[in-house]
Symmetry: C2
Subunit: 562 residues, 2 copies
């Protein structure tokens, strides 16, 4: 092997109708291969050599989806669906049945590579509008057919798993339109299947496209932004990368409309109201178990990218970075839009990934005594009006300095921004060579962040040869989140799943939330009752029973255990 060796990363789009085309992230023609530094780290961690990267060691899944279990839905029902939505919007092909039953968890990707598909839906429908959905719900209700919804398909919690089969509504095919735009109220009404880029493009170009006075932004930029929908953001309680400023997905919602087996639920669109409990909150985070979201009124924000100010700091330790981030969150001096602090291990990997290692910054850090596997990287930006952004920026700088932060300009943040929607592309490369990469995340209070971080990290590190990087990236005066990224190798998918579920348990035991922004899905449902409590769980069950007495919609979903 010469120094010029390049790992044989797959650089071809997956075959049409292949398993790989289902699990591969994002644009079929887009790739982000691990850079040289990450590649070296992986080789070192797992004792691999260049020769291990000549031919994929895992099944690449680039074979066609052909055989699927028999369809459990009668022809009569399929005919009914044809009548409701039009024949062209109903499908029972093996490929669509598999495609719309899988999300983007690692375990699903590994399963799809093997071709051993399980738990798939029977019929796919692409409804044209909420009337179609109403009729489909009635049909399923009458015939007790399980009904699922698929939007962007970026679920990382087995949200699409369909044990009993049934009908899956793909809501993003047609129901992705802007229904109403109100500049006076700064709101937009959309169908739930609208993808991030479309929504953001329309808002960024509102003057031209909608005849408004100003241009706007949706304010929500999760890593899945390009391949997730507004409906998905809301129903699973997502958070965008600028959530510290714009709020989490739930904070962006003004009103919602659902079709439930019990009829339509439409929530009021007042900016605030004291007319009884907020009905909308019952549905936010319900992950499809109470009804099918068909309309959404969202807040919008002024688009002022010209006021963005990037910053980055290196702190002597993770503890310093946490203290600084807490002070930023509690100081009432204006909040940053993006804020992200990385623990010791993520800092070291991050400096590799963002191309900081071996630059002038790296030299400066070393010179000033910031030590590898101690130092903690902080990146971020401020937004808002010109004056607000400036005020918040100055506040961050002042506080960072107070906690020992060394200012690194905005360069590391620009580097991160450049790749921020692209990192998921690396998974397929690593998986091709048998390396597992996955994430789990939780929310914590300031008072237990170190406990949760230490205990969960120690648990993960019980496994030999594992990279574990952690960051916090969503901030509140009362706490933040912890996001664990782990990279390792496993004997089998089962061994991996076992390990993964152990981390979930440990997160709960250490005092973290089961999820800060990915939701519960059917992946964490096994812990859901224990996590929220028996009486609280039974309250949700009572709501489910009222709205969906036949338990057809997304089965029991997040309450699957019962």
């Amino acid at each position: 092997m010469t120094e010029k060796f390049q790992p044989n990363w797959i650089n071809e789009p997956p075959k049409k109708n292949s398993f790989r085309s289902i699990f591969k992230w994002g644009d079929p023609n887009e790739f982000k291969h691990p850079n040289e530094r990450l590649y070296k780290l992986i080789k070192k961690t797992f004792g691999l050599d260049n020769h291990n990267f000549i031919q994929p060691s895992f099944n690449t899944g680039n074979n066609i989806v052909e055989e699927t279990p028999p369809i459990r839905i009668s022809e009569e029902i399929i005919n009914n669906l044809n009548q409701i939505c039009g024949k062209e919007n109903v499908s029972i092909t093996p490929y669509e049945r598999v495609k719309y039953s899988y999300g983007k968890t690692l375990e699903e990707a590994i399963e799809l590579r093997s071709g051993n598909i399980s738990a798939i839906t029977d019929v796919i429908v692409h409804p044209k509008n909420s009337d179609d959905i109403k009729k489909i719900v009635e049909l399923c209700q009458k015939n007790k057919i399980p009904l699922h919804v698929f939007a962007g398909g970026s679920s990382v919690t087995l949200g699409h798993r369909s044990e009993k089969g049934g009908i899956t509504i793909v809501i993003s095919t047609h129901m992705n339109r802007v229904i109403e735009f109100n500049e006076t109220d700064q709101t937009i009404v959309v169908e739930p299947g609208i993808f991030g880029p479309k929504l953001e493009f329309i808002l960024n170009n509102a003057k031209r496209l909608l005849g408004s006075k100003k241009n706007y932004t949706c304010g929500h930029f999760p890593q899945s932004f390009e391949y997730s929908t507004a409906g998905g953001w809301v129903i699973t309680l997502g958070s965008g990368q600028a959530s510290t400023y714009y709020g989490d997905a739930k904070d962006l919602v003004i009103s919602q409309k659902y079709i439930t087996p019990k009829g339509e639920i439409k929530t009021k669109d007042f900016p605030a109201s004291a007319a009884g409990p907020d009905i909308g909150s019952i549905f936010l985070g319900s992950e499809g178990i109470f009804g099918i979201l068909v309309e959404l009124k969202l807040k919008i924000f002024r688009h002022m990218p010209e006021n963005k100010k990037n910053f980055a700091f290196i702190f002597p330790t993770w503890e310093n970075a946490v203290d600084a981030a807490r002070e930023i969150s509690q100081s009432e001096g204006g909040v940053p839009a993006v804020l992200r602090i990385s623990d010791e291990e993520e800092t070291d990997v991050g400096l590799k990934l963002y191309g900081i290692e071996a630059t002038i910054f790296d030299k400066l850090m070393k010179l000033k005594g910031f030590k590898s596997m101690q130092r903690s990287l902080c990146i971020g930006s401020t937004l808002g009006s010109k004056e607000y952004s400036k005020t918040a920026f100055k506040n961050v700088k002042k506080i960072a300095k107070r906690f020992g932060g060394l200012y690194l300009t905005g360069y590391p943040t620009s580097q991160w921004e450049h790749g921020r929607f692209k990192d998921p592309y690396m998974r397929e490369d690593l998986n091709d060579y048998g390396v597992y990469i996955d994430t789990l995340e939780t929310s914590v209070k300031w008072s237990n962040i170190h406990k949760v971080h230490k205990e969960v990290r120690a648990h993960i590190k019980e496994k030999q040869n594992i990279i574990c990087m952690t960051h916090s990236s969503h901030f509140y005066p009362q706490g933040t989140n912890l996001y664990f990224i782990f990279i390792s190798m496993f004997e089998s998918n089962d061994e991996y799943i076992n390990f993964h579920r152990g981390i979930i348990k440990k997160i709960h035991e250490a005092g973290g939330s089961l999820s800060h922004h990915h939701g519960i899905g059917k992946m964490m449902s096994f812990m859901f009752k224990e996590h929220i409590g028996k009486n609280e769980f039974e309250l949700l069950q009572a709501i489910k029973k009222h709205l969906d007495p036949e338990m057809i919609i997304n089965s029991k979903g997040i309450m699957e255990m019962e």
Copy 2:
């Protein structure tokens, strides 16, 4: 009559155990009599003269509560209560039975003056802790006895009305303690019966009293602040005068604990979580129908009064003031803490009340062409860190100028602040002389604020001789509230109630929320189902049925109509 005539406002505290001691606002020894300008306006509006103000024309209610209907609770149950809470914490005196069945609506005050009491409770208990409450709930559940909760008693929505009698828990007598204080998380755990001043005093003096590094504030200052409790704020979805900055009561809640007939409900205290629907939101605004709140974790904020900056402006018209307030709310330039814009009529009355009329400011306004019954007053202040407060202040000034606002310094705001918790004291004076004063409030979107304002105002003004003042005082990027204050004379309480319910209907028809921050109570329950919708109402019913199958807790409360 000479110019020196002083109306004979009652200036004596009510007799002990009198009806007046129940309906009089606040401190028995405190009074705020209408000032000369308001007095003149009232005489002019209602065609009254000084001689009408020599002796109260209405029953002053200063007689002792002696006779009440028979008690419907058995001696056995009372003995049980004695055992649970101690004899000293159980009462069946006529005075307590009346006192704890009335809130602070005008119609209740008029009723109490007449001595014609209706709908009162039977037994009063002052539980010592949540264990007592658990036992009381079990007792009531077993014996199907109606159970009510009384905290501050400042309800203006007939929240305490107890048609079927039963047991009333007074939660503020003992359960008003601070349970836990966490400076790291900036949270405080309190019992629900803690009154505003006690909570705020402890927080303002946290360094001394709690050994913290900084002093804090609760951030919630409704007009009822001195006589309302943290539990009441939350359960009725109140808003404080600085809500634009700190958020509404619901935004201050981190977690809650309830005793329901179905058992204890305790919500998680994460700063945010994606682990299913937010259980806490179901209880916020439930006004006691789902369970009894026994513990509350609240956000706290840094106490930095030194950074407060007051401002006031006069705008040429109400439309200008609304446009400016909207721009302030949407500009992302930092939000004010207090912001209040008054319509034409309130501006004229306000200038009298705040002592601006006939000052240098008044001359300046006239000189600059701001016309009476056109001009619109705006007062407010900014808070936060020194830099944030300054940034927000400058933003407000810049925007106000853009919309034609003339800067009036911070003087009018200081005047308003001086009396901001005292205005309710004037009601007794006016009522003593047969003048009714009451308020109703709603939330609106920016796009329908003028419609709601015009239609509701026109409806109120259909009555001859009525003062109607309106302001907005809680701001969001998507809208605000409208607060109507009306002063008039009526033939009878029934005529008044009829008029009042007509306004509620009109608010709903015009497109406003039934309430922005007072809740629904048994006053607006007659419109509740129509307002939120049949399916939405039935969802709340299902929750009620699950948590309180015997319908004992606050009966059906806000769902009284069914």
